[in-house]
């Protein structure tokens, strides 16, 4: 088992930066977009980042971060020393702490927009800053006056009648400021347009762009966030311009990866057809919600993409089954049989031979049956994959590396017929694995069954219970299957299978309960996952030592990771298919 610990650590650190936030800020509709000229391809606006930074700086999370081995290691690098030297120079010039200066300058409102140029050229940029303290920019200007004087030959400073000061940075950039705002553009014409909009509200602004207007109407980009959360970040992208820059279509009509098509097919196509893409990040006391929205009229996609959406009025994915200490799961809604039947139109030609090989191989196991015509239509439209801790009751001891139990819950369109075929698959798999077990000197499985809560559970068991406190990783797995109504459970653990039988026999209420139709839902409960990581600490520290750390460093870094993860509660990623929009939501919560 390999585990990209580096990516987990980086992800945890990035999340942690958001975890320290718990403040409420006051930003509803965008204040700055009206000052940007029309025609931007991307626009982003950050609100009240200063307060966020302040909370982060004073949080326990921050002190954990700066005491971490990673931080100390970073401080030893040449890049850090250069940064520290630069900071000292800036502070001496400004006569103020660099951190405070950055907060004052960037901490209230910051907006940036990119404007297209020719093919292959870097876009033009316009940036606007509005400070909370009206006296800050004049103070900054005063501190920088000697430097401006020294660079007189390269900089051209001029004063307009309305009090706006303009600075030409040797024709590489253009700056203007007055009072509490400052504008930068790398093209003078853009600066002039922005100043006209700011001062006199003259000219066409980004706010009037048609895709922007469509976004406002559909994506509620400017609406106040719910539950007294605050909108920290807003991003808008003009997809028509992006498609044009990509030479027609950002996303090809036919994808070259089957899994991408199955999981992301509809979202990619909607994004490429949408006039806009918007992102809004809301932050509250105990969580955040990031929402990416595109126009999503599924009717435009036609019958080819019908397998990706539930029929009107029907729910998409169902809530996750309520299993104790659920680590997480993924649930997806798709008409799998129809998707498979349309694969030649959805996927590129070079993938078709792989499907042919797959079908030929499967025909050895199921003579006389066609996968697409006879097998897949038996499967319903919902697949759910879950993971939860297991009890290792099948062992007299436990494995050295403890994995959770895993289970796949398959909705069945034709329960009786489908259950028989799935049971056959499980038996065949067990037989093959038993041969391998014999070759490797491991205990073989015996297939047996039990009646549990009125449901027949078929499961594998050992002839003699394996004994030991450090058993091999293979001892985490002991398959079990069961059918509950039109749901078929394939599990790596009998205990988890029983829990799922209990859950599926209850009315559906769970952590994943929702109203809007979702087509994919992914949930992670960070607490139980962190417990599992802690139980397997030696394994991960060993991997870190293999990568060059000392035992002490590995322990210290792992401790930091666990501490950071303990602050998180849950993560959720899901897609929501509304009538006119399609959303990707990423939410998290912390203590």
């Amino acid at each position: 088992m390999s585990f990209q610990l580096f990516h987990v650590r980086s992800f945890a650190l990035v999340l942690g930066l958001l975890v320290a936030v718990g403040a409420r800020f006051a930003a509803a509709e965008s204040e700055l977009v009206a000052a940007f000229p029309a025609g931007a391809v991307v626009y982003g606006e950050l609100s009240d980042a200063g307060a966020v930074a302040e909370r982060l700086h004073g949080s326990a999370y921050w002190s954990t971060l700066v005491d971490s081995p990673q931080w100390k290691q970073a401080q030893g690098t040449p890049q850090w020393r250069q940064f520290a030297a630069g900071r000292t120079l800036v502070e001496r010039q400004l006569g103020m702490d660099a951190w405070e200066a950055a907060k004052s300058l960037l901490g209230h409102r910051v907006a940036v927009a990119l404007y297209p140029r020719g093919p292959g050229e870097k876009p033009n940029v316009v940036a606007l800053v509005r400070t909370a303290d009206a006296g800050f920019l004049p103070q900054l200007r005063e501190q920088l006056a000697p430097m401006l004087a020294l660079a007189e030959e390269k900089l051209h400073v001029s004063q307009a009648l309305d009090g706006v000061e303009r600075i030409n940075l040797d024709n590489h950039g253009f700056l203007a400021w007055k009072g509490d705002w400052l504008v930068f553009a790398d093209k003078e014409q853009l600066l002039d347009q922005s100043l006209s909009l700011l001062a006199k509200n003259e000219g066409e602004s980004l706010k009037q762009d048609q895709p922007y207007q469509a976004m406002l109407a559909q994506a509620k980009w400017d609406a106040p966030p719910s539950d007294s959360n605050t909108r920290l970040l807003r991003v808008y992208a003009n997809m028509a311009m992006i498609n044009q820059a990509a030479g027609g279509r950002f996303v090809p009509e036919k994808l070259d990866n089957a899994l991408s098509s199955l999981v992301l097919g509809e979202s990619l196509q909607l994004a490429s057809r949408s006039p806009y893409l918007s992102v809004a990040v809301d932050v509250g006391d105990h969580g955040w919600l990031a929402t990416a929205t595109t126009a999503g009229d599924r009717a435009e996609l036609g019958e080819l993409y019908a397998p990706f959406f539930p029929p009107a009025g029907e729910a998409g994915v169902k809530p996750f089954p309520e299993v104790p200490k659920l680590l997480g799961g993924v649930t997806i809604y798709r008409d799998f049989a129809k998707w498979y039947g349309l694969r030649e139109q959805l996927l590129q030609e070079q993938l078709m031979p792989e499907f042919d090989k797959f079908e030929s191989g499967l025909a050895n196991l199921l003579p006389g049956k066609d996968f697409g015509e006879d097998v897949l239509p038996l499967v319903g439209r919902r697949l759910t994959f879950v993971a939860a801790p297991q009890d290792f009751a099948h062992l007299d001891g436990e494995p050295a590396v403890k994995l959770p139990g895993f289970a796949l819950v398959v909705e069945l369109a034709k329960p009786d017929e489908a259950a028989a075929i799935l049971q056959f698959f499980t038996q065949t798999l067990a037989a093959i694995l038993n041969i391998e077990a014999g070759q490797q000197g491991r205990q073989p499985w015996v297939m047996t069954s039990e009646a549990y809560q009125g449901v027949q559970i078929a499961y594998a068991d050992y002839l003699d219970k394996p004994t030991g406190d450090k058993l091999g990783i293979a001892f985490n797995f002991l398959p079990a299957t069961a059918r509950v109504g039109d749901q078929y459970i394939l599990s790596s653990s009998r205990g988890l299978c029983r829990q799922l039988v209990d859950a599926l026999q209850q009315p559906a209420t769970s952590i994943g309960a929702h109203e809007a139709p979702r087509t994919i839902d992914t949930s992670l409960q960070v607490g139980p996952i962190t417990d599992l990581l802690e139980e397997n600490r030696e394994f991960f520290q060993g991997r870190m030592i293999q990568e060059g750390r000392t035992a002490e460093e590995a322990k210290a870094e792992f401790d930091v990771l666990i501490t950071l993860l303990r602050r998180l509660v849950s993560l959720r990623l899901s897609t929501v298919a509304e009538a006119k929009t399609f959303q990707l939501q990423f939410a998290g919560s912390w203590q």
Binding site: M1, Q440, F539, E547, G548, R549
Partner: protein
């Protein structure tokens, strides 16, 4: 035998001197690589004290012990042979007993057993531990231990060796590869020896003497008759004159030169017999000999992948990235725990071919400029810590460390190479490290 006629006469330190170059030569042969501090210490201590230290157990640091235990546990828990390889690589790079690890690898090649058939981390670990226990001890005891080693019995089909139908695999390899060498036995000797080893089986992951399957009849081996068992076959093997010569040849080829003179083989063989196959005295004689420090021996051995990859990581005191390092060794032809055949790795000139030379050069590039196989100490920071002010001081350090030689004529060329590259001092010095590692002479030791 007079000193002049003795092919393994002791190296005359009084006449030849004991230089850093001699110390580095000794350590690169007796270990996998040598750090600057190790060479300095060996130079200051002198040859006899250095040999005493190499041939006696040294305490490991607490850091090594902690990491070693964690890595061993990881391999046991995961059951992944890659983790076991990483564990061993860590020992080679970090241990305070480097000659023991070198000899363990020597014996791993000698009693070549591959996990591709054994397919078990615990079995391979147990064998490795056995090799380490006897690495510089008694060859007699080592040979005896290997007749009861579970991995060896699985590898050579021990459980198929039964009274009514003896399996000759183990007996053949014992005579041909482990004890005597080709041509020093007859087919009859193999067949009879196989009968002696019948009943030596594996049961519940342990050696089990299956008496019911043991052939109790009289056997005739090497002209001697008796109801021999496995242990007695070992004694008979070691009593053969060819055994000591076979072992001496291997040791001389491993540590001194690819084609050792016959007289040196005979001399070392005599030493082995004299000491009843105790390895430490033989190794001491070998490492302390004039032949070992002769011009003919110097830079006569092509670095194995272990010497090149792990030796360089040790020498440069890099934070080794172990799994990629052992993977590279496999690509260069030396896959730990998975020798290609029961004959092991032949080595020598066979380490070098067009593909492996390219990989060796790429290793030099990756080590100098990236963290792929490990992070070396930043050259500029090292220079600052040693208060080196001049470029030639920095260059001299790396040439001495890696080539075990004075920079000499190479210095102007290296200075020129440095001046032609751009970037920070660190980047330019890394460029020099790369040049030194990629040089053909670095492939030799």
């Amino acid at each position: 035998m007079s000193a002049a006629a003795d092919p393994l006469a002791p190296f005359d330190v009084a006449t030849s001197g004991w230089t850093r170059r001699h110390a580095a030569h000794l350590l690169w042969r007796a270990q996998h690589g040598a750090t600057d501090a190790e060479v300095t210490r060996a130079h200051e201590e002198g040859l006899p004290a250095t040999l005493d230290r190499l041939l006696s157990p040294q305490p490991e640091t607490s850091e090594f012990t902690a990491a070693d235990a964690t890595l061993a546990q990881l391999a046991a828990d995961s059951g992944d042979i890659g983790d076991l390889k990483a564990w061993w690589a860590h020992r080679i790079v970090r241990t305070a007993n480097p000659l023991v690890e070198k000899m363990t690898l020597f014996w791993h090649n000698h009693f070549a057993t591959s996990n591709t058939k054994v397919d078990s981390v615990p079995r391979m670990t147990a064998q490795n531990d056995t090799l380490r226990t006897h690495a510089v001890g008694s060859f007699r005891e080592l040979l005896g231990a290997m007749t009861r080693d579970v991995a060896m019995l699985v590898w050579l089909d021990g459980n198929a060796n039964r009274r009514r139908q003896p399996n000759e695999n183990f007996a053949r390899e014992l005579l041909e590869l482990f004890a005597l060498g080709v041509g020093n036995y007859t087919e009859r000797d193999i067949q009879e020896a196989a009968r002696a080893f019948t009943g030596g089986h594996v049961r519940q992951e342990k050696f089990w003497f299956n008496a019911r399957q043991h052939d109790e009849g009289a056997k005739q081996v090497f002209g001697a008759s008796g109801n021999f068992d496995g242990g007695e076959i070992i004694d008979l093997c070691l009593a053969q004159p060819s055994c000591a010569c076979f072992l001496a040849t291997k040791l001389l080829r491993q540590f001194v030169m690819p084609l050792p003179p016959d007289q040196s083989i005979d001399a070392l063989a005599a030493k082995l017999r004299e000491q009843d196959y105790q390895l430490a005295p033989a190794l001491r004689t070998l490492f302390a000999s004039e032949l070992f420090f002769s011009a003919a021996a110097e830079r006569s051995i092509i670095k194995s992948p272990a010497d090149l990859v792990l030796g360089t990581l040790r020498t440069l005191e890099a934070r080794a990235n172990l799994r990629p390092a052992v993977q590279l060794m496999a690509e260069l032809g030396q896959n730990l725990f998975e020798p290609p055949t029961v004959k092991g790795w032949e080595g020598g000139r066979l380490w070098i071919n067009s593909a492996s030379m390219l990989k060796r050069a790429n290793f030099a590039t990756d080590l100098a400029f990236s963290d792929r196989y490990g992070a070396i100490a930043d050259p500029a920071e090292l220079a600052a810590s040693r208060h080196w002010r001049r470029i030639d001081e920095m260059l001299q350090h790396y040439v001495e460390l890696l080539w075990s030689a004075d920079a000499g004529e190479s210095l102007p060329l290296l200075e020129q190479a440095m001046s032609e590259t751009h970037g920070t001092l660190s980047q330019r010095l890394r460029g020099v490290v790369h040049l030194v590692l990629a040089a053909p002479r670095y492939q030799l030791m």
